[in-house]
Symmetry: C2
Subunit: 395 residues, 2 copies
């Protein structure tokens, strides 16, 4: 806060769900969210609804108060529900003797909170935005021991889910290019039901869904798999699992499989992707610019004759659809995509405690896609791969 | 937009997940989100990453473009990743001839987007906040035919999940006050695993978790149930299920059960809550102030000798923990809590097409809680209850 010249940091939200900043500072889930206030060199205060005091006290903030401690009911009666909220924050800032620059963090509906910020400014509060990544982005970027344990644990549970899914696929027979499970054509929907049950068994959720893209559709890295489509043999299956634990920590892993015999083209893509994936992981260490790992991945792909997203910069519009068409990776923690970004224009430096995905892929319309992704921890001179799961194309 | 004097509405987000405004305007899930721009009397434009064009085109916006159509790669090279975003929006606003008031919507990290808004203001754009509920809040508030169908469908699937859970509870025997399932003490965690599998079978998710609070802990309306705790007989089980479909529509329903024989106190609480729940649903119709339904619920509870949250306004601090200590209900749609609010200070009027919860409850520390909740549709002179599920205390 000192470096940023901040007197007061507020973190606001209607829920801790979908609000990683609020989840991070409170250290617990609070159904209706609240207002976290931290002045420089002072202990933080957390203000919540009276019915959320129990939830709030399970977190890391000692000093939990309620909205009514700051006269919220009276403010609502006097000013109406919308303006009462501005008055509540004003009253809170005054009672904490806040003066000087104030930053407001948290995920919120922007137009409403902009109106709150503008009102606070009119009342004389110095509310400021943060351009180059917020205070909490940089705090959240490197993970401490407890956070690492939590992510590692989600990873191990995610691997159980992959194994359980593979078991289902291995129970299948094949007939006219389609997988049959217990004599019925196996649909992507049925696989996803199985994945859902396996996630539930592991106490995980996948609120963003799961990618199980089969065949030509896997050539689109964001195709998630149509539930009614059959699972086909002899063609790539891109299985990208990104679950979250009830405490809010995510994990991200992808494997590409072929049931039956893969085509030579897909086998070639698989070998190229695996090579880049392993060499990219080798290139990750403390102090390396994140974009350097992306450039290395592009170098290797290009040397092996594949297009990369880098080529689009030189006007090759095909390179937006064919080849390695996305970034190498991204940070994972209380969100599924955060700093550092292993991408062409990233200005992030890799640091100890970063947890990042390494996920090269190759895509070819009319053929399909291949992607291999691990989530790894930067430990200094080397990484720890948090994804101890074999990488075999054939099921 | 006319009424609000807006020339341009922007809806922004890094994902449609957790961003109901962006989900609403695009009509589809887009993994990396995008920028939606609508000028008054013009067709909207949606700008996304090149790899999300496929996802974006499945939605309702005809005119889908990519960031690179507005020179984003070049802007990143020139200005760095953070400031390039401001330049991108500036370039987009210019190329759409936007002038006059601009509102920015969507759930985003506030401090970063405030910096973007302040930069746009310095560039001469008239960015304004919205105090009394945003444009999209009011658009989203009443549901059209398609939205109603989607919510109704989530409701029917949620009811299957409740039935499946009850089936598991009915398979149990009881020994020393604990439920046994297949000879093992049934834990709340095991019930939640079952619920997770049932949700997956129905193609639903519960990213905010599920409440299955047993015994004394159910006296806290936000206790969700400790996984390691046993499911006990003779004491209330508050089962609050709030799932969401892959298209982003939520549903909310609560039943309270007792396995075995309920105490007279809990039976009395149950009868009082059921009475209020039925009479509250009767009071809901077009044109009624939402707070009137809340006040009616409080009137009935108080007449029957129960405390309500209303009493805290008169200085009764016990009424924050004992009795009817929360609001009667809230809107449901692309979020699990939105306008209209059936609460003491609500300024909402009930309208045709509103979908709201009706969820009175009574809580007594040392005894437990009872809550009964349906999700209902306001149809004019009457409601349609979207929750055709029996209300029986005994399992």
């Amino acid at each position: 806060m000192e470096k940023r010249g901040l007197d007061t940091a507020l973190v606001i939200g209607e829920s801790t769900l979908g609000n990683p900043e609020l989840l991070y500072v409170t250290g617990t889930t609070i159904p209706r969210g609240g207002i976290f206030l931290k002045r420089r060199h002072r202990d933080p205060v957390l203000v919540v609804s009276n019915i959320d005091v129990g939830s709030a006290k399970r977190g890391r903030i000692q000093d939990v108060r309620t909205y009514n401690d700051f006269g919220y009911h009276k403010l609502q009666e006097k000013h109406g529900p919308e303006h009462a909220y501005v008055r509540l924050i004003d009253s809170l800032l005054h009672s904490m003797n806040s003066h000087g620059k104030i930053a407001i963090y948290g995920r919120n509906e922007f137009s409403r909170l902009l109106s709150v910020a503008d009102s606070l400014r009119r009342m004389g509060h110095k509310v400021t935005g943060e351009q180059d990544g917020s205070l909490f982005d940089s705090l959240r970027e490197t993970k401490d021991r407890h956070e690492i344990t939590r992510v590692r644990n989600v990873g191990l549970r995610a691997i159980h889910v992959v194994h359980g899914t593979l078991e289902m696929l291995r129970e299948c027979t094949t007939s006219s290019g389609k997988l049959k499970h217990k004599r019925k054509t196996l649909t992507i929907g049925a696989v996803k039901s199985k994945i859902g049950a396996l996630l539930a068994d592991q106490g995980l959720m996948a609120p963003e869904g799961t990618t199980f893209a089969v065949g030509h559709s896997s050539a689109d890295p964001h195709a998630m798999g149509e539930p009614s489509d059959p699972v086909r043999s002899g063609t790539p299956i891109v299985f990208d699992l990104f679950p979250v634990s009830p405490e809010g920590y995510w994990f991200d892993l992808t494997r590409t499989y072929v049931a039956g015999k893969p085509s030579p083209k897909v086998e070639q893509m698989f070998r190229a992707v695996l090579d880049v994936q392993l060499r990219s992981m080798d290139s990750i260490r403390e102090g390396v610019p994140a974009r350097q790992t992306m450039n290395l991945a592009c170098d290797i792909f290009e040397r092996n004759g594949f297009k990369t997203i880098r080529k689009t910069l030189k006007g090759d519009s095909e390179a937006a659809r064919i080849g390695f068409i996305h970034s190498l990776g991204h940070g994972v923690g209380l969100t599924i995509g955060e700093r550092p970004y292993l991408s062409l224009f990233s200005d992030d430096l890799l640091r100890k405690g970063h947890i990042v995905t390494v996920e090269p892929g190759l895509y070819r319309p009319g053929v399909g896609g291949v992607r291999i992704e691990d989530t790894v921890l930067v430990r200094g001179r080397r990484i720890e791969n948090l994804t101890p799961l074999e990488k075999e194309l054939k099921i």
